[in-house]
C-alpha cells in the first residue's frame, strides 16, 4: 500500500517513545514474486486481488518502471484508455482493502450524544475539551482518524444514526468536515471548528462547539 504521511509541526517538534519489537515478533509480509520466466513477465498485470507480483531488481527479470501512465508491460501508454484502466485499478485496490488499511481510535461513542471527529494534533487538543465537557455532564465520544483516506464512511454513517451532531476541529477552513458531513448525509449536523494555524486550537473553542451541538 502506498502511504502518504500527513506530517505537521507537532510531529516535527515532539518526542515520544517508540518501542520497536524484536525481529522475531515483527511479521514481515513480502510482496508476491513472479512465478513465470522473465520473458513472460508483465510487471503490471495484476492477480485477482489487483496486486501484480513484483520481481526484485537484480533478479534477471529486466523489467521497466515509469512514472508515466503505463500498460501491463510497464511501458508508457499515454492514452485515455490506459489512464482509465490504471487509475481504476489503483483506486479499486485501495478501496477493496479499506477495512485493512483504515485505522481509527474510538472512545465513548456507544452512548454519546455528540462525537468529536478529528485527526493529528487537533485530536489531542480535542481531548482536553472532551474531558471538560464530560465533567459538565455531556456525553461526548471521540473518533480519531488515524487514516483519512480511505475515509471510514461506513463507521461515520453508523454513528450518524445515533448521535445529535459531529464536531470537527481541524487546522484549516474545513476539509475533513466536508467528508464527515457527506457521510452524515443530512441525518445530523456537522459543526466545523476551523483554526487557521500559527498555533493549535484553544480547547475552549472546541468545548463551545460541543455545547452548541447538544443544545
Amino acid at each position: 500500500v502506498p502511504v502518504l504521511v500527513m506530517s505537521e509541526a507537532a510531529v516535527g517538534h515532539m518526542y515520544e517513545k517508540v518501542v520497536i519489537p524484536p525481529v522475531n515478533q515483527i511479521e514481515i509480509i513480502c510482496r508476491r514474486k513472479p512465478t513465470v520466466p522473465p520473458d513472460e513477465y508483465l510487471p503490471f498485470k495484476p492477480d485477482a486481488d489487483l496486486v501484480p507480483p513484483m520481481a526484485n531488481t537484480g533478479d534477471g527479470y529486466r523489467f521497466h518502471v515509469t512514472g508515466l501512465t503505463h500498460d501491463e508491460r510497464g511501458y508508457p501508454a499515454m492514452n485515455a484508455e490506459a489512464q482509465d484502466k490504471l487509475i481504476r485499478r489503483l483506486v479499486d485496490k485501495i478501496e477493496k482493502n479499506k477495512n485493512k488499511i483504515t485505522k481509527l481510535e474510538e472512545d465513548g461513542i456507544d452512548n454519546a450524544e455528540v462525537v468529536v471527529c478529528s485527526y493529528g494534533v487537533s485530536a489531542r487538543v480535542s481531548l482536553v475539551a472532551i474531558e471538560r465537557a464530560r465533567n459538565d455532564g455531556i456525553r461526548v465520544g471521540m473518533l480519531r482518524l488515524i487514516t483519512v483516506w480511505p475515509f471510514p464512511e461506513d463507521r461515520v454513517r453508523e454513528i450518524a444514526k445515533k448521535v445529535k451532531a459531529f464536531v470537527v476541529p481541524e487546522i484549516n477552513y474545513g476539509q475533513i468536515a466536508l467528508e464527515v458531513e457527506r457521510c452524515a448525509g443530512g441525518m445530523v449536523k456537522t459543526i466545523l471548528v476551523p483554526h487557521m494555524g500559527g498555533s493549535v486550537h484553544n480547547p475552549e473553542t472546541i468545548l463551545d462547539a460541543i455545547k452548541q451541538a447538544v443544545k
Binding site: T57, G58, R62, F63, V65, T66, G67, L68, Y75, P76
Partner: protein, 275 residues
C-alpha cells in the same frame, strides 16, 4: 550462385533493446540513438552481469533512454534519478546502478542530488547527455545553455552563465569525470566502460545534438551540422583542469578524461569503516 543478404530490419544490439518499443520518440538528428549504442557497447565491454545492472533515468528526452534498454530500468520523477539510484544501491549494494539522464534533469531540478551523491562518493555511474536545452518541452533555456545562445525563451541570447558540469561533478567529489561529444564515439564508449567499472561516483558528460531546438536556433539546423560543429570545435585535453572546461558559444569544446582518482566510497564494503 551464392548470395548474401543483409537483414536491414535487425540491429546487432537488438538483444539489449526493448525492440517492441521501437521506433523511439527521438527526433531525426538527435544524438541519443548513438549514445545509447555506445553505452550498450561500453557496458558489454565491462563483462558486468547485466542482470545486476539497474538503469535509472529522470524526465526529458534522455529520460526515455531507460525505457529502451533491456535492463532493470526506472523512468523516475523529474530530477530524482540520482536519489532513486542511491536508494537502489543502498537496498542492494550488489547492483551496479547507472543514472542516464539529461542536463536539465541532472543539473537543474536534480542538481542537489547530483552534488551530494558526488560528495558522498556513492558507488554509481552518472551519464549526463547535455544538449544545452530542454528539448522535450520546447527548447527552453536551461542550466547548461551557453551565454548568448538563443533558445525559445532567450530569443535575444542567454544573459545567464551556464554550469560547467564536469567541474561541478569534480568539485563535488566525483572520482571519475570525463566529457566527450557525440562525434567521438570510440572515446565515449571507452569512457562509459571505464566509468562503469570505477568504484565510487563516476561521471561522464556527453555533448549531444538537438537540431530541433538548440541547433535550429544557433545556426546548426541539422544533426549533421551539429556533429560537424563538434568535430571542428572539439579539443582533446585529457587531464585538463575541470574548472577550465566551461563551454562558450562558438568556443572550443574541451573533451577528455579530467578526473580519475581513488577514494573511499559508499556504501562501504565489509563494514562501516572503509572499503
Amino acid at each position: 550462385m551464392k548470395t548474401s543478404t543483409i537483414e536491414t530490419d535487425k540491429h546487432p544490439l537488438d538483444a539489449y533493446l526493448r525492440v517492441d518499443r521501437l521506433p523511439h520518440i527521438w527526433c531525426p538528428g538527435c544524438g541519443l540513438g548513438l549514445i545509447v549504442n555506445c553505452f550498450i557497447r561500453g557496458l558489454l565491454g565491462t563483462g558486468l552481469d547485466l542482470d545486476k545492472v539497474a538503469l535509472v533515468s529522470g524526465i526529458g528526452c534522455t529520460g526515455r533512454a531507460a525505457g529502451y534498454i533491456k535492463l532493470d530500468s526506472f523512468h523516475t520523477t523529474h530530477g530524482r534519478a540520482v536519489a532513486f539510484g542511491i536508494g537502489l544501491k543502498l537496498a542492494n549494494p550488489e547492483l551496479k546502478v547507472v543514472v542516464f539522464s539529461g542536463d536539465g534533469d541532472l543539473a537543474a531540478i536534480g542538481g542537489n542530488h547530483l552534488i551530494h551523491a558526488g560528495r558522498r562518493n556513492i558507488d554509481m555511474t552518472v551519464i549526463c547527455v547535455n544538449n544545452f536545452t530542454y528539448g522535450m518541452t520546447g527548447g527552453q533555456l536551461g542550466p547548461t545553455t551557453p551565454s548568448n545562445a538563443r533558445t525559445t525563451t532567450s530569443r535575444l541570447g542567454n544573459i545567464e552563465k551556464p554550469f560547467n558540469i564536469p567541474n561541478l561533478a569534480a568539485a563535488s567529489g566525483a572520482v571519475y569525470v570525463a566529457r566527450w561529444t557525440a562525434a567521438q564515439i570510440h572515446q565515449m564508449e571507452n569512457a562509459f566502460r571505464e566509468a562503469l567499472v570505477k568504484r565510487g561516483f563516476s561521471f561522464v558528460e556527453v555533448i549531444s545534438p538537438c537540431p530541433t531546438y538548440y541547433g535550429r536556433m544557433n545556426n546548426q539546423p541539422t544533426g549533421l551540422e551539429q556533429m560537424r560543429y563538434y568535430r571542428r570545435k572539439r579539443v582533446v585535453k585529457n587531464g585538463a583542469d575541470p574548472s577550465e572546461v566551461g563551454i562558450g558559444l562558438d568556443g572550443p569544446i574541451i573533451t577528455g578524461k579530467f578526473v580519475d582518482i581513488e577514494l573511499p566510497y559508499l556504501p562501504a564494503q565489509g563494514g562501516s569503516d572503509g572499503n
